[in-house]
Each structure stands twice: as structure tokens, then as C-alpha cells.
């Protein structure tokens, strides 16, 4: 199927659950609310015509500086090996407690990327079997890939210099 056909098929089959569908630079993209994500993902995975059985990646984006609602977005990339087509599901998430349902029951491959969403962007993934920090240490504060996370120097854990007093040097948020 071409990207246009994929978007049309998904839109006609799922109706209201798909907020918007478009073809962006040749890629099929649909916009979905977090509540209907699991239903949409399951349909796209199991429908014989679409059969997107492979979860390629999950990313989180923080659109803080972009003046848009909602602030966060989780993006799912799915492939079908049988039909050789792909779809991108974009899920907008609210600023206060961004929450997205897990898809680990559909794809075991989602175990790590969903933990990364929690770790790096602070998304609350409901239903994930093991939601804890993945890349940063467990006692880490903050979520580094959020846009309001300051670029700082890291506090020194130990110094031979007894008079050393650590000071977190906080820079301004990055300017362009």
C-alpha cells in the first residue's frame, strides 16, 4: 500500500479514534489521543491488510518552545514486512502528568523504549511491567530530554580537596 492508502484505510476503519491523518514527506502519519492509542495500535498490528507487526521505535518529543498544544508527543513508528509499508502514530500528551498507555502487551520490543520515555522525558507509561529509570541512575532528579532541563555541569561526587565545595553552575536555557 502507498502512504495515502494506508492513511485512508486507517481513517475509514477507525473513524473517530484517529484525530487527523496526513502524508508528510511521503510518510503515512496519524494523530491519535492517548486514550485510543492501544485500540488503534492493536488494529493496525492485527488487520490483515495493514499487518504492521513490527515496532520500529518509540520517541518522545517536548515541544516547549514551539507554542503548541499539547506540549509533549510520543511517536510510534511501525513497519509491515509482509506489505512493505509503514505508519507513524503521533500521540499528543498534556503538560501536567503526561500519560500514555503501554503497548508492551502488543510488542515486547516496547519494553526498553517506553522505559526511556519515562526516564528521559518523564512520561508516565501506565501498565508497563517494569517502569523505572533506564539510562540515568535511579536516584537522578529530573528528565534530561525535557526542554526546560537546564544544561549544567554535574556535581562532583567526591574530591581529594577537603576545602572543595561543590556548586552547581546553572546556565541559562540554551539560546539559539
Amino acid at each position: 500500500m502507498t502512504a495515502e492508502e494506508v492513511v485512508e484505510t486507517v481513517k475509514s476503519a477507525l473513524g473517530e479514534a484517529v484525530q487527523k491523518g496526513e502524508v508528510n514527506l511521503g510518510d503515512a502519519v496519524i494523530f491519535v489521543a492517548p486514550d485510543s492509542l492501544h485500540k488503534v495500535a492493536q488494529y493496525i498490528k492485527e488487520d490483515a491488510g495493514l499487518k504492521m507487526e513490527y515496532l520500529s521505535d518509540i520517541r518522545g518529543v517536548d515541544y516547549l518552545d514551539q507554542d503548541r498544544e499539547p506540549r509533549f508527543e510520543a511517536v510510534y513508528e511501525l513497519h509491515s514486512f509482509e506489505h512493505n509499508h509503514s505508519i507513524r502514530i503521533r500521540v499528543g500528551l498534556e503538560q501536567e502528568n503526561p500519560t500514555v498507555p503501554t503497548v508492551t502487551d502488543l510488542w515486547n520490543g516496547a519494553l526498553f523504549p517506553e522505559r526511556e520515555l519515562f526516564d528521559m522525558l518523564g512520561f508516565n507509561v501506565t501498565g508497563h511491567p517494569n517502569l523505572k529509570r533506564l539510562i540515568m541512575p535511579e536516584e537522578w532528579e529530573g528528565h534530561p530530554l525535557r526542554k526546560d532541563y537546564p544544561l549544567t555541569t554535574e556535581d562532583v561526587a567526591f574530591s581529594h580537596n577537603r576545602d572543595y565545595k561543590s556548586e552547581l553552575v546553572k546556565s541559562k536555557p540554551p539560546t539559539r
Binding site: 514527506l25 510518510d27 513490527y54 517536548d62 520490543g109 526498553f112 523504549p113 544544561l151
Partner: protein, 399 residues
């Protein structure tokens, strides 16, 4: 263990927890896996990553597009051109620019050399993990030649940054192309040599056949990609199914396995080395003439010689060096086939000269949960074989 009233030691559970890594020679970097052992059998394996976290994704959000390219080298440091290519293809898709054929062919040559180098390192270390020392030395010998080729064309042995937005860094000289030809003519008999040492070696077969098995459905569900996925019987290669950078012009076969064990993954990669060699040979034979980068000076630097005579070239040069390329607003993703599987960057641009968000789809990162699943129920000695067969690179896992 706890001490009972009689002063005897009492076991609290029937399994033993064993820490493997983060600095273990066969985890290929700083990867830690916590094994629950029942005697010699692994009952469960829990991966821990993050020891090599470099914050490349966060750093990329504060650097210009051109400056991100050297950092992509450090992600999958065994095949840097593939990361350069994935990043440049995505940026070019946003810029909507067409790369000239000669640049595409040079990119293919570099990527396939990178794939050969990566597979040679994989074969060397994987064989060493399982106990075949000789193969290690042989593979390293051939990889050295690839590093020399890298050095000659880009000035750097490993972190080449050769592929740039809009083309490549500089044109290949006839001398370099002749050296590449000499290398690929030399390589086939060496691959035969590795195979003579391993493919029908009974010790090798004992250690790899039926180890770390994943069925086709499992492999898809656990998001394995590249050779590990094809070893389980999925016939999918992005170079074949969604050709990029002129791969549609080359004839090559995609090896597909059927058992999905460590041995099949070994066969896939060895065959891929032969196919890479075939692609390079075809690219050398039909290398087109013409420019090696786009002529649009808003994307690529004007030729040095024109700076003294053309005011416009001077302005473009100044603007590009001081400001960089501004990429139109939007977000996109281009999947490519790296040595470990699907490599691609999801780039969000806000229209400025700095990417708003860069996310790498790293095949090793996605494969780690599946890799630990394979260890369940296997012997502890097979853990090493399984890790080796997935060929993880921690640079792209932790980013």
C-alpha cells in the same frame, strides 16, 4: 544466605544472583546483565544499561546540523559511515535536496566498507568469546586495511565523518579507488579462510547450533533487526525493499536463515560480507562522473578556488561557515540498513539551523530485551555466545 540458630548456613532461595559486567570482556562495552542462576542454567537475565551515557541526543539539540555529524560517528563506532548516512539522508529529506549520483555511489562504497569492517570486528570478537583465537587475529589484519582506506580518504581511521549534508567531504582520487579494488579482490579468499576455520568446525557447531533460538514471530515481536532478524527467517532488508542512496542500481542477495540460532546469525553476517564486497565491486565499476556534492551553495560549501573570483561564493561561504544550514520546519525519519539492523534518525526541525530534537533508532538498543529473553534457560557459557551473536555496540545503546 542467613545463619540458623544452630549456626548453620541456610539458603534463602534456590537460585544464585550473578553479576555479569559492566566491565566484562565479552559484553563488548559496558553492558551489565544480572543473571539468576540455577546451577549452570540461567533462569532469568535482567539487562542494565546507561554506563556509557554520553548525552549525544541532548547535545545535538544545541549544535548545528553540520556539527552533529561527528557525534553520530561515536554512536555506532564500528561503522560510522552508516550513522552519517542515516543522519544526512533525514536532513536531506527535510531540505528536499537531491544528491548527485557520484556522491551516492561514494556513500555506498564507504557504507559497505564500514559494514565489512564492522562484521570483521564482530567475527573477531565473537569467535574469541567462544574460544577461537586465530580468527580474531586474521579479522583484525583485514580490518586494518579498511582503516587505512578510511584514513586515506577522510584523514581519520575510525571516526570518518566522510558523509556530509548534500554529498561527501571530498572526491575520491583514482589512487584510492584502485586501492579499494585491490582490497576487495584480496578479501574473498580471506572470507573463505575464516569459513574453513569455523563453519564446519565441530567445536564451533557445538557452541552455536541451537543456542539462543528465536522463532520468526518472536524475533519480530522483540524488535530484533538486521542479520538477527533475517537469521530467524524474515526476508527484509531496507537496501532491497526501500532502496536509498542508489542501492536500487546494485545486484546483491539478501541471505535469510531458518533456525534463528547463533549459528544462523553467524552465517548471515559472513554471507553479508560477500554481498558487501559484490556491491563495492559494482559501485567501482560503474562509478559515475560529476560533482561529489550538491551545487546548491546554501547547503554545501563553494569550491575553494572560486572564493577569490566570485563575490557570491564568498558570501555563501561566509553564511554557511558562520550560520550553517537552515532546515525547513517539519519532522521525518528515514530507515537505513546498518550492519546491526535498522538505523535511522527521527529529526524534528523548527526551521532554524539547530535541530530541535534528534532521536536515534539504534538496533542494538532495541535488541537488548530480546537478547536477554534468549538467555532464559540456556547455560551460562551460552550467555557469551548469545551476546556476541546480537553484536551490540554500547555507544548506540546508551547514546
Amino acid at each position: 544466605m542467613s545463619v540458623t540458630e544452630q549456626g548453620l548456613l541456610e539458603r534463602e532461595k534456590d537460585t544464585m544472583t550473578l553479576n555479569m559486567g559492566p566491565s566484562h570482556p565479552s559484553t563488548h562495552g559496558v553492558f551489565q546483565v544480572v543473571l539468576e542462576m540455577d546451577g549452570e542454567i540461567v533462569r532469568s537475565a535482567e539487562p542494565h544499561i546507561g554506563y556509557l551515557h554520553t548525552g549525544i541526543e541532548k547535545t545535538s539539540e544545541n549544535k548545528r546540523y553540520v556539527h552533529v555529524i561527528p557525534m553520530t560517528d561515536r554512536l555506532d563506532y564500528l561503522s560510522p559511515p552508516q550513522n552519517n548516512l542515516a543522519f544526512c539522508l533525514t536532513t536531506e529529506k527535510l531540505l528536499q535536496c537531491q544528491v548527485p549520483p557520484r556522491a551516492q555511489y561514494l556513500r555506498v562504497i564507504m557504507c559497505e566498507l564500514g559494514r565489512l569492517g564492522s562484521h570483521l570486528v564482530w567475527l573477531a570478537t565473537h569467535a574469541l568469546d567462544i574460544g577461537a583465537m586465530t580468527v580474531f587475529l586474521y579479522c583484525w589484519r583485514e580490518r586494518e586495511m579498511i582503516l587505512d582506506l578510511n584514513e586515506e580518504i577522510s584523514g581519520v581511521r575510525m571516526m570518518t565523518s566522510y558523509i556530509r549534508i548534500g554529498g561527501v567531504m571530498k572526491d575520491a582520487t583514482p589512487g584510492w579507488l584502485a586501492k579499494v579494488r585491490k582490497f576487495i579482490d584480496y578479501l574473498p579468499e580471506k572470507i573463505d579462510e575464516y569459513e574453513r576455520l569455523l563453519t564446519r568446525n565441530p567445536i564451533w557447531l557445538d557452541r552455536t547450533e541451537g543456542v539462543g533460538v528465536m522463532t520468526k514471530e518472536e524475533a519480530i515481536n522483540w524488535s530484533l533487526s538486521g542479520p538477527a532478524l533475517r537469521a530467524s527467517g524474515v526476508d527484509f532488508d531496507f537496501r532491497k525493499k526501500r532502496p536509498y542512496s542508489g542501492y536500487e542500481n546494485f545486484e546483491f542477495d539478501v541471505p535469510v536463515g531458518k533456525n534463528g540460532d547463533v549459528y544462523d546469525r553467524y552465517l548471515m553476517r559472513v554471507e553479508e560480507m560477500r554481498q558487501s564486497r559484490r556491491i563495492i565491486a559494482q559501485a567501482l565499476n560503474s562509478l559515475p562522473d560529476g560533482p561529489y556534492k550538491v551545487e546548491d551553495n546554501k547547503i554545501s560549501l563553494p569550491e575553494r578556488s572560486t572564493l577569490h573570483t566570485s563575490m557570491e561564493a564568498l558570501i555563501h561561504h561566509f553564511k554557511l561557515v558562520s550560520e550553517g544550514v537552515s532546515v525547513p520546519k517539519g519532522e521525518t525519519y528515514v530507515p537505513t540498513e546498518g550492519p546491526r539492523g535498522e538505523v535511522g534518525f527521527y529529526i524534528v526541525s523548527d526551521g532554524s539551523n539547530v535541530p530541535y530534537r534528534v532521536k536515534l533508532r539504534a538496533p542494538s538498543f532495541m535488541a537488548i530485551p530480546g537478547m536477554c529473553k534468549m538467555m532464559d534457560g540456556s547455560f551460562i557459557a551460552d550467555v557469551v555466545a548469545v551476546i556476541g551473536s546480537i553484536d551490540i555496540v554500547m555507544g548506540e545503546v546508551d547514546r
